[in-house]
Symmetry: C2
Subunit: 245 residues, 2 copies
């Protein structure tokens, strides 16, 4: 008899993320999604040749790590804006040829917390729409294990675009048992798949970015499967391009 396919679960919002550090995730692959914009920015940076991104929780932690890694760029945001004294904000459009060969120390609110909350998982990936096809290929090739999709959210609430991305990944991995959270994400994707950008613009974060004249960043992050790489967080906490399986 063959083993049953391992389940896909989705963590919908920050209050659910708070419970993850106490959960045994050793047999699990975790994928964190912070589509607008932290994980989309990480994928963009890696696609543009960055060596790795160190997501850290606080501005103080970022400056402290900078002492150990003096060549690293400092990036991130608070309330959506670049942090004083930092080299870069949190827009993927800032992470172009300037990041080639560089390490980046990054602190954002929800994306960093989501990645850190699953750092004890068997494998920790940063996901986005930009690389979702490559992510699905990677997951199909790895030994079958439980998949936990972590939607970073906004402040303490669920973010539509993160759940949409989780749903799209689920649609690319058919045949696996789904929890109710995963069924919900898949239904959202099925409902919105004909126009992902429209869904992102309608979401709270999309509206907030539009109000700041940052529509182009929403458009950037809404493009599915345009970057062919997978981003994995190492035990030391650095998100790097994963070696193809």
């Amino acid at each position: 008899m063959s083993e049953p396919a391992p389940t896909i679960d989705v963590v919908l919002s920050p209050p659910e993320i708070d419970l993850l550090p106490k959960r045994d995730l050793s047999g699990c692959t975790a994928v964190a999604f912070d589509i607008l914009r932290a994980t989309s920015t990480m994928i963009t940076a890696l696609a543009n040749g960055a060596e790795g991104i160190w997501p850290v929780r606080s501005i103080e932690e970022a400056w402290a790590l900078k002492k150990t890694l003096p060549g690293a760029l400092l990036g991130g945001e608070r309330h959506g804006e670049r942090i004083e004294g930092f080299d870069l904000g949190n827009s993927p459009l800032e992470y172009g040829e300037n990041v080639w060969g560089r390490e980046i120390i990054s602190t954002t609110t929800n994306g960093t917390l989501a990645l850190r909350a699953v750092e004890h998982a068997g494998s920790v990936l940063a996901g986005s729409l930009l690389n979702i096809g490559a992510l699905a290929t990677h997951l199909r090739a790895e030994p079958a294990r439980e998949l936990l999709l972590v939607c970073a959210g906004t402040f303490r609430e669920a973010a539509l675009e993160d759940i949409l991305a989780a749903g799209m990944l689920i649609s690319l991995l058919p045949g696996r048992p789904l929890t109710d959270g995963a069924e919900l994400a898949l239904a959202l994707y099925q409902q919105e798949k004909h126009d992902l950008a429209a869904a992102l613009h309608r979401a709270r974060n999309g509206r907030a970015l539009r109000a700041k004249g940052r529509e182009q960043e929403v458009e950037w992050c809404a493009r599915a499967s345009v970057m062919d790489l997978v981003a994995e967080m190492s035990r030391e906490g650095c998100v790097r391009r994963a070696v193809p399986a």
Copy 2:
């Protein structure tokens, strides 16, 4: 200038419900959904002439209240089964003509907790698919205020059927601003509206009830707008038929 329409928000899962007691809900109408089965059972009991349902958190609390209300029936479940010494379980099919004119003290896991978590709201309603049309009519008639739809979930996780019911209610109240959680619920409903029963059977609770030979209860709870009443929790904590607005 007219006021903007008040927002609809959806609380997706128990870890989010845990945050509600500290949130100011005084200007808010809260609707709790525990479709399989607690709130569906309450609506069925009221439709069959029960005077009121007292949702309490523990078995001990149920016995203590029974001393004050010796004529009340004891109902509820633990792990889906009737509690020892209680008159009734948590199946809506048990709440027929036998509940006419009676008060019921009820303890279930998630449904009770959801109702109690919003007891400080301006108005607290118990919702189900069974009475969802009446619920929408009631909400359209009341003075416009924020609407908080609370999905009771299962153990510590989101339950598909609760979010589906929230989504259906949202579809019946068009034109209001939606949070991302509310957009998600509405998308689920749009995706599943052609066969609500199929969605309930596919959900974790639906599968668990089927495994126990309780498919009929799932079918019962999946019927939309068959009971024309609204259930409101009083300040003392009793869920009664609301006086039509």
